[in-house]
Subunit: 209 residues, 2 copies
Amino acid sequence: MKTGDVSELTLRRYPRYLHCLRKLKQSGLEYTSANELSRQLAVHETQIRKDLAITGLQGTPKIGHRITDMERAILTYLGWNKLRISFLVGVGNLGSAILGYDFYKETGIQIVAAFDTSEHKIGLAINDISIFGLDSFSKMAKRMKAQIGILTTPSEVAQKVTNLMVESGIKAIWNFTQHPLSVPSDVIVEDVNLYAGLAVLTRKLIAKE
Amino acid sequence: MKTGDVSELTLRRYPRYLHCLRKLKQSGLEYTSANELSRQLAVHETQIRKDLAITGLQGTPKIGHRITDMERAILTYLGWNKLRISFLVGVGNLGSAILGYDFYKETGIQIVAAFDTSEHKIGLAINDISIFGLDSFSKMAKRMKAQIGILTTPSEVAQKVTNLMVESGIKAIWNFTQHPLSVPSDVIVEDVNLYAGLAVLTRKLIAKE
DNA sequence: TAGATTGTTAATCGATTAACAATC
DNA sequence: TAGATTGTTAATCGATTAACAATC
């Protein structure tokens, strides 16, 4: 299996394939093909074949692939077949929204605890996830071997909380703030950048005027 | 000015430039250069020059650019210098979080009304934005000439609400649901795909194991 | 002047698509 | 068999980077 040299463009396509595969499975099919995915998703069939080849999946000429095999190949390649303990920091509206998602079933990412500094939030729970004081973060993260930190704090404290996460053994940070984070080279940061999407949206609007 | 043939990769870089320019301005500088942005953002200087050229901006050799000129050029190119009326549908946690953002000052996108079907939300307000029943959407959108629809409903009703938005004259939809939307060719859809980001994050984690 | 910068043209790199042999 | 599919190699396309002349 490849290490880390796959393009992000490829990685970002996999969830779309998974989504489509689930729909096809729900419609009662057992097998499907790169051609069929290509029609459904408007992605070139050769590109789908190449993306699938990266996961190690092999198909059968004329038949295609068993849908469950395709799903498993992609899930395994992305690491979505394994449980990953995640902690969320910052239980504002956005944090609460993220706590409401059920990522676990699809991605293996389980948010097991949330943290905030606001006294009146500590002790509450959202979607069965308890909210703790931020001062408990480090000890809990180390004990539970949390891998992923979800950062939904105000931007002003983003770097401070990031440092705490890094010190506590967090290996990847899903950053919902606008603040560009500094981390050691062995820690992964994935930024959710809403403004990038808005730039695309408004520019397309302008181009039509 | 170019029409719509600029790559999305380029468009997605502009907000990062803006963010950096604001920081430089705050630090008291009046002028800066592509070289300086390149150092701060780890983007190749030639790429920054090309991106800036697209906006029509011209600099002065040896000096660089006046920061306010750069900002204005990018804002104008993205259409972030103009007010755009936006309506949000679906005031759950995610919708509430989006209502809490102040996009207006940075992007010109002003969320002027929110809509939901839940009786006990109608009449409330979040961040000074009133929540109305979904049945008022069409009339209000037409009257106020809403351009942008923000879709934060459950996936199951995403297409239904999208149809309502399109019928009501909405020209661009910012889609926070997982549902792939069908729209006429003159309506723009920008998907916020959290799962794509998670695929990148977990794959990078795996590659390090 | 020399150094730093701009803006453009050429080269490189990487991603996508085309072409095609192999096969059930 | 013929048609549909796989998987790979070659070609194309587009984005990024290098090179360099112009300039304040």
